[in-house]
């Protein structure tokens, strides 16, 4: 860590150290002192909102999907494969809309790396969908119903030898690998290494190394694009990375939507045990992201715990228990988890507004949940935002958007602790509508 006495700091001290560091980012070269000030002020907006103080104005955010590149006239394919075009598009979009939180170049992802590995988990342009379509998740039982015990025994081993060979066509030979935990004693180590000599396994490693290079190239390109925008415009790169609710890792990625629901009847205890097992991994993923990018906020999208997905009782048992531990683990490191609460959470509010989570340490962005009800429970406890419908941005008029945003601000923003944002990821919008959202927030969201 960048502070020597890091381990001695309390969660609140870590929080402050992270936010201070974010406020004056090492290596930033702002275009002018005015831009540097604008950056600092924007960080202050988010920090105040999160700590439940009244900022000078409501911070402006939206969940940036593929709209930014569409706006600039790029196809998704171009954004994924041509970093120069991507850079120009992101610069244009951010300069034209000026949200407080930067729309990042990284959304498009390192398609070349995925191509080298023959990723099966998604389809994307050149790989099964038209050039204009965003990537699409291919749902399947990448983990089988009878494999919970393997996952529980050693998640990393399970990923190496079962999950990764299934999702990456070119890593299929990894099924042959021995468990790396075999590498302990002289007589055991030899046989543990043998599979690594297999030509197919070696070819798989070569692909992986090449994919690593492609990912690094992507990271450098996107890093340079983002820095250039931040330096020129003073926008704030809001999140440092991702983590997941343990139940969603199981339900989204490993088992799939339908199978996880059937598992709830056939092997409920295994789900609970797996969520527990995945919790420290989820915490570590978040903290590592925050440390690596030196930015305190980590995004956690919530998928399969929404209203209707299970009863309240099951929500507590299967979803919330491990998510709460994940949140507490992240907060203890002074990192701010930003929950993207997809769908409706109207029946969950009393559960998630949990007094065990220290106030002013978390951030909750809602989709279809009634924000007035959120305000009642979250006021004085945690920062929240979101809710501007993407359907309105895609099909409405600027006037409608303006009215919506004004009403939202009137109803839930007055005491601070609120961030203006969309309810879902923006892949499609009328530019005048997105502009109306941001500009209404900028003008009407000023605190007296």
């Amino acid at each position: 860590m960048w502070l020597e006495n890091w381990d001695e700091l309390s969660p609140a001290e870590k929080f402050n150290a992270r936010f201070d560091d974010w406020t004056s980012p090492p290596g930033a070269q702002f275009a002018s002192p005015a831009i540097a000030r604008a950056y600092t002020e924007r960080v202050r907006l988010f920090r105040d909102a999160i700590q439940l103080n009244k900022p000078t104005r409501v911070p402006l955010h939206f969940f940036s999907g593929f709209y930014a590149i569409r706006y600039a006239g790029l196809t998704v394919e171009e954004a994924m494969y041509d970093y120069e075009k991507l850079g120009a598009a992101m610069k244009q979009f951010n300069a034209d809309f000026m949200p407080d939180a930067l729309a990042s170049a990284m959304t498009a992802g390192p398609a070349k790396a995925f191509e080298l590995l023959d990723l099966k988990l998604y389809r994307w342009p050149r790989h099964g969908v038209p050039p204009t379509a965003p990537f699409q998740y291919v749902e399947a039982e990448y983990m089988r119903a009878d494999e919970y015990d393997l996952l529980l025994a050693d998640p990393t081993n399970y990923f190496l030898r079962y999950y990764l060979p299934r999702i990456f066509g070119n890593l299929a030979p990894w099924q042959k690998l021995a468990a790396l935990t075999d590498l302990t004693e002289w007589p055991l180590m030899g046989s543990a290494l043998v599979a690594l000599g297999n030509p197919e396994v070696q070819a798989a490693f070569e692909k992986l190394l090449a994919a690593g290079c492609a990912a690094l190239e992507w990271m450098k390109a996107c890093g340079a694009i983002n820095s250039a925008i931040v330096n020129a415009l003073g926008l704030v790169p809001l999140t440092s990375g991702f983590s997941k609710a343990p139940f969603d890792t199981l339900g989204d990625t490993l088992r799939g939507t339908r199978p996880i629901m059937v598992d709830k009847f056939h092997q409920p205890q295994k789900i609970i045990a797996a969520c527990e097992r995945l919790t420290p991994l989820a915490v570590e993923m978040a903290v590592r992201a925050a440390n690596g990018a030196r930015k305190p906020i980590v995004l956690i999208p919530l998928h399969k715990g929404a209203d209707g997905f299970m009863s309240e009782k099951d929500f507590k048992t299967f979803y919330w228990t491990s998510l709460k531990q994940t949140i507490l683990g992240i907060v203890a490191e002074g990192v701010v988890p930003m929950m993207f609460v997809e769908g409706g959470y109207n029946s969950r509010l009393d559960i998630i507004a949990d007094p065990d989570i220290p106030k002013g340490t978390t951030l909750w962005m809602f989709d279809k949940t009634d924000l007035k009800a959120v305000k009642k429970r979250f006021g004085g406890w945690a920062c929240f935002g979101g809710n501007v419908p993407v359907s309105l941005l895609a099909t409405g008029t600027p006037k409608q958007v303006e009215e919506y945003v004004r009403r939202l601000i009137d109803e839930v923003a007055p005491d601070g602790g609120f961030i203006l944002s969309t309810g879902a990821v923006v892949d499609d919008a009328r530019p005048e509508n997105l502009r109306a959202m941001i500009e209404t927030g900028r003008a009407y969201g000023v605190y007296q």
Partner: protein
Amino acid sequence: MTDELVAAIVEMRDGDALALTKQRLDDDANPLTILDECRAAMEIVGKRFEVGEYFLPELILAGEMMKQIAAQVKPRLQSPSAAQKRAKVIIGTVQGDIHDIGKDIVALMLDINGFEVHDLGVDVPPEKFVEQIAILQPQVVALSGLLTIIFDSMKETIAAIQAAGLRERVKIMIGGGTVDEQVRGYVGADAYGKDAIAAVALAKAWEHDHVA
């Protein structure tokens, strides 16, 4: 006897439900009564969903049970079930979208309520809807979709139905994820339904509307 199968389905004991079905078929029970019991059980499941006692997992498991029981029973059926069906409904997730959980729930609830449901699946192109409407002549068309980028797909689908001269013969409802009343206006559907229960209510209200 008969209550046992109904209870197994309603209580989500899928193993028991399948074993009972198998045993009953082995004992030469009338396959039609088995299907009647399934229907009775599904009505209870549907009611519990409506009142908020059951949720997605129960509907999904119940749907699975129906599929598996039907697979066991179908080979024994002499003639297709003669049960009186209500109006015909064509349902599908529109082109560009593969979300099907919501659509399946809507289809299941319509089916439980006695509608004759034809499910065209996911990522369904406009031509397919048009073709199937011409063949099946449904009273109701239900379009599902969760992504904002499919608003235009819905619009194109409805335009294609119009262009084929079939628009006046069907009532069209839309729903799913980010779809709302605003989108209904944009795509030109007759109604937006916020959930499966709304879908059933709409279909019921519409089924006698149309004399083609």
